[in-house]
């Protein structure tokens, strides 16, 4: 074995350039794997955080019929006495806030916006006292101020404001159906513009005070949802069950963020699969490169191979020698790839890549506004390093097998 290892590594130095070219293919594949894995993990981590911080919270209490009809945003399928539930949650030291979510038409007036127009919007009426305890809009204010209770005012997401040409101090009108089906027009002043890191929210955000919406829409104190913030390390599923048990008999349901964000999670999974396929192809290309290098190395050494077989070296030992040699290329490539991967990881973890210009006009599903940051993943590095060596070594098996099919006299005659 010692001889086989020594021979394999000496042979690696025989064709330095070829070894390095093949190793660089492995290195590239490995680096890409580490880099893309880090980027995807980072994007997923940030997306999940931004989802919980700005969209779904950790969990949500809804009227039990609401979720099925959520796209219509029905005000009649509401939580009739949200304050009673909030008190019970407060008693359990669970941070929560009520909201009214409703759809309407946002009407732009000529005076402020230069031309008239309208667009459909989703509006959140928030409890201005408690909402920042659950959602993280606290540090997203770009201009103006936050909402105050009872005022006829809205805050908008910065992309939304940019799209409609809104500025602080402008007035808009929102026409919506109130609880009971009547139409209500609300004249509201834009008092603030928020720059939210979640692009989905930033693109559509219209927020107004809860009590203002309550008046206009005749909600009579009802809310369409109560959003809950759980500690970072909480087991969401068991907390959901616990809160659900608390609410027994109220015709309400509690949903964890994962249930609400099913679409995002499925999309992330699909992206991971797609990227996995691309990385698999990169590895296949690297593997073909190694296989080709080994094929050349083996066929240039056919006579040597014949000599070794003549002298009584068993075929499996010869095969092993070539596999060790290929593993050597794998080690060189994997080491280079690991170093490059760590370098690339360092860049994407510390600096990130700014995709703002792409994300501004395109919805990629990720809840990241612009800068994609990576996540260190030592396990991926270890796995990729081992895979680089194992794959390299395995792909040498087939060309060696082919060469060993030749009879010994043919090997010795080989030119």
């Amino acid at each position: 074995m010692k001889f086989l290892i020594s021979l394999a590594f000496k042979n690696l130095t025989r064709y330095k350039r070829r070894t390095l070219i093949t190793a660089s293919a492995i290195a590239f594949g490995l680096m890409m794997y580490i880099f893309v894995d880090s980027m995807l993990k980072g994007a997923e981590y940030e997306s999940v955080r931004n989802l919980k911080w700005y969209e779904t919270a950790s969990a949500r209490i809804l009227n039990e019929e609401y979720w099925e009809n959520r796209f219509q945003k029905p005000l009649d399928l509401s939580i009739s006495n949200p304050d009673r539930i909030l008190s019970r949650l407060d008693a359990e030291k669970i941070t929560a806030t009520k909201r009214i979510s409703f759809g309407g038409d946002l009407i732009l007036n000529k005076e402020d916006f230069g031309e008239e127009g309208n667009l459909p919007v989703s509006v959140f009426a928030i409890d201005t006292e408690r909402d920042f305890d659950v959602f993280e809009f606290g540090d997203t204010l770009m201009s103006g101020r936050f909402l105050e209770p009872g005022e006829d005012a809205v805050v908008l997401g910065s992309w939304m404001a940019e799209d409609i040409g809104a500025e602080v101090g402008y007035w808009i009108t929102i026409v919506a159906r109130g609880n009971g089906g009547f139409y209500e027009a609300m004249d509201l002043e834009i008092v603030g513009i928020l720059n939210c890191p979640n692009p989905n929210v930033n693109r559509t955000l219209v927020m107004m005070p809860f009590d203002t919406a309550d008046d206009y829409l005749a909600m009579d104190g009802a809310a369409t949802e109560i959003n809950i913030k759980l500690p970072v390390n909480a087991d969401v599923d068991s907390e959901v069950v616990r809160i659900q048990n608390m609410l027994n008999g109220d015709s309400l349901t509690v949903m964890g963020w994962e249930t609400m964000a099913k679409d995002f999670l499925a999309l992330a999974e699909a992206k991971r699969g797609g990227t996995g396929m691309i990385l698999f192809l990169i590895f296949i290309i690297a593997a073909v490169g190694i296989s080709n290098t080994m094929l050349m190395a083996i066929f240039e050494r056919i006579r040597e191979l014949g000599m070794m077989r003549s002298l009584g070296m068993a075929d499996n030992k010869i095969r092993l020698a070539f596999m060790i040699e290929a593993a050597g290329i794998g080690i060189v490539g994997s080491l280079i790839g690991l170093v490059l991967g760590i370098g690339a990881d360092f860049f994407i973890v510390e600096k990130g890549i700014d995709f703002t210009s792409i994300m501004r006009d395109m919805d990629m599903g990720y809840r990241i506004q612009g800068v994609f940051r990576g996540e260190w993943n030592p396990m991926t590095m270890v796995k990729a390093f081992i895979a680089g060596i194992v794959i390299s070594s395995l792909v040498a098996y087939f060309p060696t097998k082919r060469a060993l099919k030749m009879d010994i006299p043919s090997c010795l005659r080989h030119q």
């Binding site: 010692k2 025989r14 002298l311 070296m313 068993a314």
Partner: protein, 225 residues
């Protein structure tokens, strides 16, 4: 020690059958220094390959130390070669990345000997073939004659009973060729190893103590000297 009994070997080149050996019979005793001679295509290398258990017999039988070659499986043949046979090739076939020492010692590493024994035997045989002090040279830093000496050392280091050499001097100038033949002869005397070598060179034939002439796959003459 070696009995070749009516051996037939055919090769197929497309639909054409080339009869390389047509019923060759021969007995070779221990310690002989035998040359198989003949023109190109006479079957010299084929006969050597068959005795060396690296080719398959189509008819007849070869017995080495009373063991039938035709009944041996691939693994058995490999084991048999590893223990009993040494090979010297026309083009030396040394491994270029290994030193002279490593090229010789690797044969012993196949026999699972201890490091100490491998070292002692390798150094001893390298000294015998006149390569003392050149152990660490790679083949590229050795002359043709020196490379063939390494190959002879590699063939002899495991003390095989038979050494097969296919045109061992064909790539060497005549003086170096003579030196190699003298060395082989010396080793044959010293170790009582059976040497069987092929050649078409008359000068080389002169060194043989027995000369078997082949022509068109048949023995033309078998002359002891």
């Amino acid at each position: 020690m070696i009995k070749v009994e009516n051996v037939v070997r055919n090769y197929h080149a497309g639909e054409t059958v080339v009869k390389a050996l047509r019923g060759v019979s021969l007995e070779i005793g221990k310690g002989e220094f035998l040359s198989i001679a003949g023109p190109s295509g006479s079957g010299k290398t084929t006969l050597l390959n068959l005795i060396g258990c690296i080719d398959e017999i189509d008819g007849g039988e070869i017995l080495i130390k009373d063991e039938k070659i035709s009944t041996m499986g691939k693994k058995e043949k490999t084991n048999f070669r590893r223990i009993n046979l040494g090979f010297v090739f026309q083009t030396y076939n040394l491994i270029p990345v290994l030193t002279a020492y490593e090229n010789v010692s690797f044969v012993l590493s196949l026999l699972n000997l201890s490091e100490k024994e491998i070292q002692e035997r390798t150094m001893a045989i390298l000294k015998e073939v006149g390569l003392e002090g050149m152990e660490n040279r790679r083949p590229s830093r050795l002359s043709g004659g020196q490379q063939q000496r390494v190959a002879i050392a590699r063939a002899l280091v495991k003390n095989p009973e038979i050494v097969l050499a296919d045109e061992p001097t064909a790539n060497l100038d005549s003086d170096t060729g003579k030196e190699i033949l003298e060395l082989m002869k010396e080793m044959n005397r010293k170790h009582n190893t059976t040497f069987i070598f092929s050649t078409h060179d008359k000068m080389v034939m002169e060194y043989a103590s027995r000369l078997v002439m082949l022509h068109d796959g048949q023995i033309l003459s078998d002359e002891k000297r």
